[in-house]
Subunit: 137 residues, 3 copies
């Protein structure tokens, strides 16, 4: 069981491809068959598995969320950190903070079109910490 922290500096709302960062932890671990568990230690950003070929997919995700969970919702009480404070928490709960990816032949066993993304939901840049736990043989 190997644990490593990954730090990601977001540039504000939007997605960042972290597949290579995660894969480098997997390769460093020397594990050939196993699982890589990712855990984001924040409640206003997400981890997602997303189509990795067309950047429009991530723009469209943003379009969807902007309508589904609009900033500045007048019915939300929690707004100490701004108009997108509570919407960021809702977006996080509708998506993912944590999942595991199989390790196959010493590599992430992702599908051809799958990438791992950090999705920042706050408008300001944030330093985000992901804990990676690797297990296997």
């Amino acid at each position: 069981m190997i644990q490593r922290g990954i730090e990601v500096a977001s540039r504000g709302r939007g997605t960042l491809d972290i597949t290579a960062k995660v894969e480098s932890v997997v390769v460093e671990s020397g594990i050939i068959t196993g699982l890589a568990h990712l855990f984001l230690r924040h409640t206003s950003a997400s981890l997602i598995l997303c189509e990795n070929a067309d950047p429009a997919v991530r723009r469209d995700l943003e379009t969807f969320m902007s309508r589904c969970v609009p900033d500045g919702d007048p019915e939300f009480e929690h707004s100490a950190e701004g108009r997108e404070d509570m919407p960021a928490h809702v977006r996080t709960i509708l998506t993912h903070s944590s999942f595991s990816v199989p390790i196959v032949a010493g590599r992430l066993g992702l599908g051809t079109w799958q990438g791992i993304y950090l999705w920042e939901h706050r408008t300001a840049p944030h330093n985000r910490r992901i804990l990676v736990t690797i297990q296997g043989e």
Copy 2:
């Protein structure tokens, strides 16, 4: 690999902080570096990782879900157990039934503002069963 059941008595719709209950299973296990996997054995309640400082966040989650998946939806067929029967299933699928939290230095490796919550989606109180599986060293 250690498995323990946790029973939680919900008081009807709303969230309950179960972080301390989960942490006590982790401490009892004696595992120092590992993963705690949580699994809720029901389809009308959820497990979420949520901001743990301001109770308004959980009220706002409820506000959001009440609009996104309103009770008494006339287009839903499945309503044997009441107006919120099918909405409870939809809320569950939009959130989480299962995730793992890293164990770091013998404790849950949560972020400062993260708590683990049971989110009851039915209006009546229910006894909910969570299976905790601990692994590590």
Copy 3:
């Protein structure tokens, strides 16, 4: 750590019960206490834990998603593969690509009313590949 691929042929949009297929991998593994991790290697279909008694529940899920993430959304850019291309990616991110189910007494430790379903979000049939990773004792 045992890894097996499961192939599922979807018949287009809709859910397929894959509980028995997953359970057969668990039984074959001989693991008595552990975890079965499921990972879907696609970004336009999901894995869900859903009520397994009334087929109307899955029809209602479809009704919900058809309204929440309608096909042919004029604000989406990514539509190379059709009107439901981008909605399929959004549905995937709102639900699940991956989770683990506890293994209890050599069987899947599901609740009485829980089944494991592949949810196809594309209108055409697709062959979907799920990687199952089993660990335990």
